[in-house]
């Protein structure tokens, strides 16, 4: 289990995360955020592996990556 959360107040809709995601599980919203951008969102949560590549390329540190704790 893994997921990402996008901070809509920080995302500027540059789309670099969506391009970096090998599983293609990030898409851009069709509606404006409060700051006037089309923010990224996790469109296919079941595919997210928590690899964090999206966060590597995000210039705005808007993506938090979560993974199930390994015991």
């Amino acid at each position: 289990m893994a997921k990402i959360e996008v901070d809509e107040t920080r995302c500027k809709g540059c789309e670099l995360c969506a391009a970096a995601c090998a599983k293609k599980c990030i898409a851009m919203s069709k509606t404006f955020s409060a700051t006037g951008y089309y923010p990224a969102f996790l469109c296919a949560p079941e595919l997210c592996s928590g690899c964090g590549l999206c966060a590597q390329v995000c210039p705005d540190l808007a993506i938090s990556v979560f993974k199930e704790a390994v015991r």
């Binding site: 289990m1 893994a2 997921k3 107040t9 920080r10 500027k12 809709g13 540059c14 789309e15 670099l16 391009a19 970096a20 951008y37 928590g50 964090g52 590549l53 999206c54 966060a55 590597q56 390329v57 995000c58 210039p59 705005d60 540190l61 993506i63 938090s64 990556v65 979560f66 993974k67 199930e68 704790a69």
Partner: protein, 254 residues
Amino acid sequence: MLLINPRPESLVDVKMHYCPGCGHGVAHRLVAEAMDELGIRERTIGVAPVGCAVFSDDYFNCDMIQGAHGRGPAIATGLKRTRPDCIVFSYQGDGDLASIGMGETIHSAARGENITIIFINNATYGMTGGQMAPTTLMGQKASTCPLGRDPQVNGYPIKVCELLAQLEGARYLERVSLHTAAHVIKAKKAVKKAFQNQVDGKGFSLVEILSTCPTNMGISPLEATKFIADKMLAQYPLGVYKGAEGGKIDVSRN
């Protein structure tokens, strides 16, 4: 679930002013993570440039000074020599470092100052509106060479790592890029090494980071990463130009 990428402590928790897709934000994170991981934040002083990163003193959570255009390495020299206990870095764009500041860059390298320079090569003057930089590629359009850079009129691009590699005083020179996640991960290692070298007293370390300025390139952020892959890499090959071989420099003068 566990958050695996907490925001680095060395980066203030505010929204950055950079344009969508601009490479400066990623470069800032890499510098901040290096400070965190080496545990040096409390004794680090950064020098902010003139250029879009002029406001980086609002972002880096360490002591900061904002220098006049191109003077970062001279200011860093003064700081390091008077406060050798501090870790001093200068963060500069190509208009800042390779143009008006080229004298400071070359001489701080020649003197072998024990400082760290983070050099953002986005092939343009970002802040002032996309004028030609010393690093603008042949044929690349800029607001001051609208038909594309022409060697007859504008001369040739400057390769900063190759140039500095001639100097004995330059100890660590590496060129990295931010155009894919894999390259960002590699860039992180180089940035961290450039700080580690200073901690170890190894002398002048500069990391050249190929970055994007989608706004002034007039293309989308994704196209700008392709511009690096297809055009910039050919002119600016990635790699280690000097590997900080050997031991400490003589820091007795500090």
